[in-house]
Symmetry: C2
Subunit: 285 residues, 2 copies
């Protein structure tokens, strides 16, 4: 169950979250900068091309806020937050190769500048650096949460690949995809805060649940925004060349013309056909 709160409410703006974690976020940004360093110059070039391109750093902010909420007084949350951002950046680099994307955050995708090969390998480097930072923090529970998340995120991405070729993707399957590919990292980013402070399991679960639901909502809202911004002709082309269209059932959430769901124990199967409604399931910034 949930209460719907309009995002427009000034008192509930993200600004308060930004202000709350600002001092810690400066340390996270410094950590991110220092940990992309390498004598192999292509690595900092590619990593910083993406990292400095205007992402909101929402996931690391959640780690910092949850650690503070749970009364954690150490330093580990800074490295864990940087690790979470590196995991996110690595998946964006790999996503753009998988999706053959040309743009990311309003500028050329790294693969368009340095090539697919470099994007894959620098993503791998960032994943390695993320795990190094987690190990330095020394919390096995945080390591457990984030390594599990890494496997689930990749699983969600592969699931999406399979779903993209299946016009009969169910609502349950679609939700599984976005839980895996997007919401899992939100959930893990929130859960490591209390885990770091060795808080009780129920508090860890509550934080995880908050992150999971926020992540699902975030992906839906982002997809809706991307969809609305896309020119209709381009959207039509996308759908016509249905090979690249993802999650046929998604538009059912996003438009008034959604077909009815026939609920069953196996999940709701959409009587769907490719629609002129634009489809985009791109991972958010």
């Amino acid at each position: 169950m949930a209460v719907v709160i309009p995002f427009e409410s000034p008192s509930l703006s993200i600004g308060r979250l930004i202000d709350l974690v600002a001092p810690d976020m400066d340390r996270v940004n410094a950590t991110i900068l220092s940990r992309t360093g390498s004598e192999v110059t292509m690595i900092p070039e590619i990593a910083n091309h993406l990292i400095t391109s205007g992402g909101k750093r929402l996931r690391p902010m959640l780690t910092l806020a949850m650690a503070r909420l749970m009364g954690y007084a150490g330093d580990g949350h800074v490295k864990l937050a940087a690790a979470v951002e590196f995991m996110h950046t690595a998946t964006l680099l790999h996503d753009d190769v998988v999706d053959e994307s040309e743009m990311r955050r309003g500028r050329l995708a790294a693969r368009m500048v340095w090539g697919n090969e470099a994007s894959v390998l620098v993503g791998d480097f960032l994943l390695g650096q993320a795990f190094k930072m987690m190990v330095e923090v020394g919390s096995l529970r945080a390591l457990e949460i984030l390594s599990t998340a890494a496997a689930i995120i990749a699983e969600g991405e592969v699931m999406q690949l399979a779903a993209a070729k299946n016009t009969a993707t169910t609502e349950d399957e679609y939700l599984s995809v976005i839980r895996g590919k997007t919401a899992e990292l939100f959930a893990a980013a929130c859960e490591v805060g209390p885990a770091l402070g060795s808080r009780p399991k129920d508090e860890q679960s509550a934080c995880r649940s908050f992150g999971m639901n926020l992540g699902i909502a975030f992906q839906l809202v982002t997809t809706r925004s991307t969809t609305a911004a896309r020119p209709r002709s381009s959207a039509r082309m996308l759908v016509t060349t249905s090979v690249r269209a993802r999650s046929p059932c998604l538009w059912c959430y996003l438009t008034a013309a959604a077909p009815r769901v026939s609920a069953s124990s196996g999940g709701a199967r959409w009587r769907t056909a490719m629609s002129p409604t634009p489809i985009s399931n791109r991972r958010s910034r």
Copy 2:
């Protein structure tokens, strides 16, 4: 310094290593099989396509052997060995995308069957699973060694990308590449054995050094074998289309017609030109 021992000597065959670790290796194989499991069927299909295709499992064997050598009596070496093999498999999947390889271990590369996208993502899944297994073992030192290796391996691969476009690659740079992309995992696979048993740092370093040198030799020998097996016409074409030729200085190691090295503090710079001698720098099985 090293003593050169002919591989042909029966008393020094790899058979003794295989026999030594056989019971543990059965457990590693069972772990590998169970940890590629996923409801997303493409994941076990791709992972097992590669894992069951005749790799020698040399890296996990080294982990098992070193753990036994150092008197480790627990169970953690089995999961660490499986994690090492998963890291290796993930890099092979990503390598084949980066190198646009069509074959791997005598059969079609996974990317030729399931596509580049799936190969990238299943590689990510295996990396996540590898870290999950390491966390389950619970040795922060082993985690430190293997997470550092993950970053160094990717760094070596990016370095190779840059070197491939530079016909003036030095011997030092070439050795840095193969240390990173191949020998680092051998070194880490050996080092985690004593680390798991909390053996002294000098013993960990000795095992690491053994693995590093074995890995460098292994890459050179593998490259030489691949080179010898390649038809001369195909080799000539490879070199003529020099865009895809890797590490121009490599053939200097492998042929009698190597140019002289002018040693200097900055490393030996080869007066190299593209040669009709075949070049291959593919990661070994």
